[in-house]
Subunit: 435 residues, 2 copies
Amino acid sequence: MKQRVVIIGGGFTGLNTAKLLGNKQNIEVTLIDRKNYHLFQPLLYQVAMAALGEGDIAAPLRNMLANYDNITVFKGIVESADIANKTIFTDFGDIPYDYLVLACGVQHHYFGNNQWEKFAPGLKTLAQAKEIRRRVMEAYECAERTKDPVERKKLLTFVIVGGGPTGVELAGSIGEMSRYTLSKFYRNIDPKLTRIFIVEAAPRILGSFSPELTSKATRSLEKLGVQVWTSSMVTDVDANGVQIGNERIEAATVLWAAGVTAIAIGKNMGLETDHLGRILVNEDLSIPGHPELFAGGDLAHFELENGKTLPGLAPVALQQGRAIGRNILLDLKKKARKPFRYRDKGQMATIGKNKAIVEIGSLKFDGILAWFTWLLVHIYFLTSFRHRVFVLLQWGWSYFTFSYGARLIVNKEWRFYPDIAKNNNSNKTTTNCDG
Amino acid sequence: MKQRVVIIGGGFTGLNTAKLLGNKQNIEVTLIDRKNYHLFQPLLYQVAMAALGEGDIAAPLRNMLANYDNITVFKGIVESADIANKTIFTDFGDIPYDYLVLACGVQHHYFGNNQWEKFAPGLKTLAQAKEIRRRVMEAYECAERTKDPVERKKLLTFVIVGGGPTGVELAGSIGEMSRYTLSKFYRNIDPKLTRIFIVEAAPRILGSFSPELTSKATRSLEKLGVQVWTSSMVTDVDANGVQIGNERIEAATVLWAAGVTAIAIGKNMGLETDHLGRILVNEDLSIPGHPELFAGGDLAHFELENGKTLPGLAPVALQQGRAIGRNILLDLKKKARKPFRYRDKGQMATIGKNKAIVEIGSLKFDGILAWFTWLLVHIYFLTSFRHRVFVLLQWGWSYFTFSYGARLIVNKEWRFYPDIAKNNNSNKTTTNCDG
């Protein structure tokens, strides 16, 4: 009898578990994801900043897994599972399993202030990336139109909440774009006057890197016109800006790169989770008391010997996906499972052209060498050959021309113009214009 | 004193008028468009079918016009104008003009049945192209999930209303995709069973071409599995399919390629329009009684000597845009205006790989030669060099691998997952799934 492995989530973990079990005898794999594609999350900010298109960093899961006959992909939503009866509940019916792999990651999180979301979108999905792109480009369009200098200043102010790699990459991109690229496109505004703020609650940005690299990254950001505010806790976000205790920044565009929380599936299933909602896992990535359940990637709380947990990085998710696949195969061969050992690939962040930081163990470097390292690593890990070619070409083009791809504002509304007009009025919060 | 030329619409007409007046002394040009980009409309169906990305066929108007210092671009909505006081009314204030060029084209039209729109989106904008892509790919996802064979048949049925070039191109693409590309991606359905219908009210499809080419195109469509129903007037469209008099086709996806109507600006300004809302223009493309007003492209009703009107084709719009620009320049030089003469570039439509029809005057051909002609012409007219390079590369890739770009279903919703779940329930009409 075939073993039924059900995988929830087609990110780095789920995809790699699936591939390891692909075309293996006596295994039937079902992979379920809300989306029909695998997303190369580390480059998502480039879609938000119009440097790449959505097709450059995402590929349909069924295409990626087409050659594994024993894998079925469903686009669907999994709400919870009945552990006792080994069955998951989806929006298209119940599915029984012998092994269940939970790998549906995290979403952004407003620390109990969900009302901030509509003013400050996060960056975890393609839809969010395109919403951010729309807001940023729309702000420049509105600034070009307005005759009120105070309104114009507000429209040319961008606040990024959170100084992790995502926040730094977003801020650096806006800095570079405003200082080097946009100037010649506008007649009534000077895009170089764009104000960009990173607002970080901790005493320094990029807290997971060494203080030395934080310092270098901060200088690089400043050179692009980004103002870095640390020890600054956002206390309110509204349609006109952010409040930081007694300080206030008026901004038409606020982007959220501050917090994440695990998708609620662990909690819904009654599993033990940490303060971020991540599921506690054993050394072999199975869930305590349930050898048939696994969790990996951002969704898993994996504790190291020093008491720390593994960070939410692509290499962790990828390696855990493979480890889960290997342990399921060991089970079927009646062999002992192997504990997961993370091989540290280091971490990196990019700030702008020729500006990046890289930290691998005690090796630290920055500048153009770091930037090329960042570039090569990301190209290498882009999942299909087609993507590698097209991304390299677009980057090459941008590098030498300093002009990015299409900064299109594609309306979400596809219906008649009369309907759009009505809609625009009722959706004031999603546009920056007061026109 | 500088002459103020205001252009409404950044399509082929508006863009070309603007370029002709660019960097000319004593002229100030203001171009206003609802969108921030120029769209290469002839390839829009390829975005709908996931063969190209939105960035491949659209470019921001401000980038395209950046080198003309006397041109200001605004993203905005023009509702009407006061002809007597030479002022247009926009959503960001009034703008005075000396010359006004109306070039805002057409939108799709349901012949008085606007309630059909939500069941059958048209294809005139990028947002619509992406909505069509989403519906087509979602239908396959839902078909893979369902266990009900009748439901599955409905999900694998696509009806295209209208047998003009757009309808033929959409149907041909779905035919090709279902017969050659999708098979290996699904486990529970056979995409080759996809039913595709073109429903055309006239006695033949592609009525603007010669009957001989219609016949060849029909055979090419049939070979791709497309069923061509002519003399078939759609009498109703609902969430489950279309009614054609006493006949009925159950289909989860209906696409509208049947009718267009001019943007209402002519009517709003009290100008004389034809039954399609197009503005009647003189030989020099000015509007009768108003030498300072011009209209061009799809929005204009230009009558030929034989009593026919010029069709809504890109070459017509492009040539008219240049002619308007030239006539304004002649005015400023105090010379007589020239009547517009259309240089017929012929017409063409593509059905699938190596399958197209071309008709230039009495010259008619089809097959692989027509297809290569189509390809070269479209590449040549793609507006920027960057676009030409990237589209050629993607087409080259698709031609040899028969695999298209990313068939991503990008949700319109960018907010929290809990919000999406709620939203899905209230928006049943926009999803094909009953799951």
